[in-house]
Amino acid sequence: MNEKKAMQAARRRSLTFTLVRGAAAIGIALLVAAVLIFVSADGDRLAHTGEALRQLLIGPLFRSNGSINVKNICDVLAAMIPTIFTGLATCVMFSANQFNLGAEGGIMLGAFVSALFAVYVPLPAGVLPVVAVLAAAAAVSVMMLIPAVLKAKLGVSEMVNSLMLNYVVMYLIKYLLNTHLADKTKGQIQSYPFQEQARIAPLIDNGSMLTWGFVIALIFVVLTSLFMYRTRWGYGIRMIGINQDFARYSGMNVAAIVILSQVLGGALAGIGGGVEMLGRYSAYSWNALPGYGWTGITVAILAGNNPAFVPLAAFFMAYLNKGCLLMSTYCGVPSQLIDILQAVIFVFFAAKQFLAKYRQRLVVKGAQEELAAQKAAAAEAAAETAEGSVK
């Protein structure tokens, strides 16, 4: 009984600490943002900074007249689709301590492969998008096999290899698109238009690109959570992330799990690319890495590598990104501020010793309270026995 209470108190303490720490990291990032905006503004700096911060923080929610802006909110939700997938992919790979940074190239490859299916493969409605997305997943899984197998069998750094693969994938896609697949009737370099039945239907028809892809993304959040916390493979992935040697000595096939985690991450990134491409676009036109992979890493860090928290983190990043876009439109602050904000939040969130003194105080306070409670209980018990003996 008492122990249960103590456990609950400890859990509450760690939750308080996590929240305070997160708020502090975000607060510091916003402070940095405010300073940068203030320095970059001209004219009435204070008013300008205030207006820019207002756009950043509540711009995505409200119109200037105070009414709720549904379109903007839908935009934010739609922007979560690719980063949920790259976030999940990164969660799975980082949980196994595999610093594979290939989600960036992976989502591009996935988008490209699904686009090829959408343009060239004649399949009926309902079947085509599913096949296209699955093909994307398969393609990216194969791509991730390269760093995964090299890591598992030869100990080659999966980080460097996956980074290099990103570039290789990007240039090969550019080559294929420019030479063999381009629709020459269009002004910009893009593929032929997708077949109509390949598109993923919008969820709300207000031009926000919020498609059924959002629902698919949430389903994958649930599936990935279940996989990571309710299956032995997921357990294996988390275990080699915590202590690879222990996992090996206890008889796990570490090499297989190293490969599994990265192939699975690849599949998730590929699905993300496919869902994003078929939902948002009507022809393939990406000619550079989209950046979703890097955002996915931030999302995974914010979520503490727990798939269940990925949507929350993705929402936060999408909201911030939209705020930055609005800020650049209405206040002339370059939207790349998001990268600085992201980096600042990122390092503070991942910092184990950030606010460590505060945590220490919380723990000490908790322990003192516990001791006091024990003492009180002991005194009570003593009083009771004393009473009993008097009787």
């Binding site: 090299l150 980080m159 290899n161 290789v168 998001i338 503070f348």
Partner: protein, 320 residues
Amino acid sequence: MLQLIFNTDFFFSILRITAPILFATLGAVVGEKAGVSNIGLEGTMMVSALFGSLTTYWSGSWAVGLVVALFCGVLVSLLMGFFAFNLKTDIILTGIAVNMIGSGGTLFLVKVITQQTEGKALASTTSLITAAHQIPSWNIPLIKDIPILGPILSGHCILTYVAFLLVFLTWVLLYRTPLGLNIRSVGENPNAASSVGVSVLKIKYIAIGFSGLMAGFGGAFMSMYYSMGWSLDMVAGRGFIALAAQAMGAGEPVGSMLSALVFGFAQAFSIKVSSKGIDSNLVTPIPYLVTILGLVAFALVLRHRVKKQHSASALEKTAK
């Protein structure tokens, strides 16, 4: 065709292209020797390149620009060190954050500083740097008159010579100075180093500061010589290639220089080939592919060597 590619110009360009990779590689070598994996070299180079080119423009002197670039490189790395060593952020994640600042953050700064607005999506400082601002080249007396060797070795940017000189200096630092011994011992076994009174934290800061200095050189080379001005993603993975060169060179200065030269060769080759009319998208990834293949080859060789040692020692045992 072969003669068109393999001429003195080509070998000259190998050295020119290798220089920035070599700087970053030396940074990676010293960092890794102290057990510090600095994957933020890429972003650090971008920041240094930006501020180097900007101060060169403001001051009109490349020397001032170079000093500022070096200063920025060290500053960014020490900041990385603060997060990694003091706040205990994973060093890989700290590096990723630096790279985020290197790609998007620098573009933000360029737009703010030069007042180029969103309309011109490709803000850069290329219009600010002219040939007069460029880091000067040096024609080596005597050597420049030697046929074949002269046109290859002479007439490089002075930083190119600095890069190759630094290979030697880094070797001296690591193997002939007390500081180098400390760096290596901290990387080998921090607990042992700390038990004999070496301040592990200080050595790690020195190592990451050194790698930032090298990234500063690399960034200055990129924006003040190689491509005259800063533009988005101009470092294009050289910081990452440097990590591969370090790994392939087994973390030793000279070996890493040789692998950096391999990447320089691959890149010079792809540039040359694409100038001959082959689609650049097909040849630009060659250096990245070579990196992967190089890492694999190195791992295989290492494995073979380890196996040989094992079997040799096993033989010895049975002989006894």
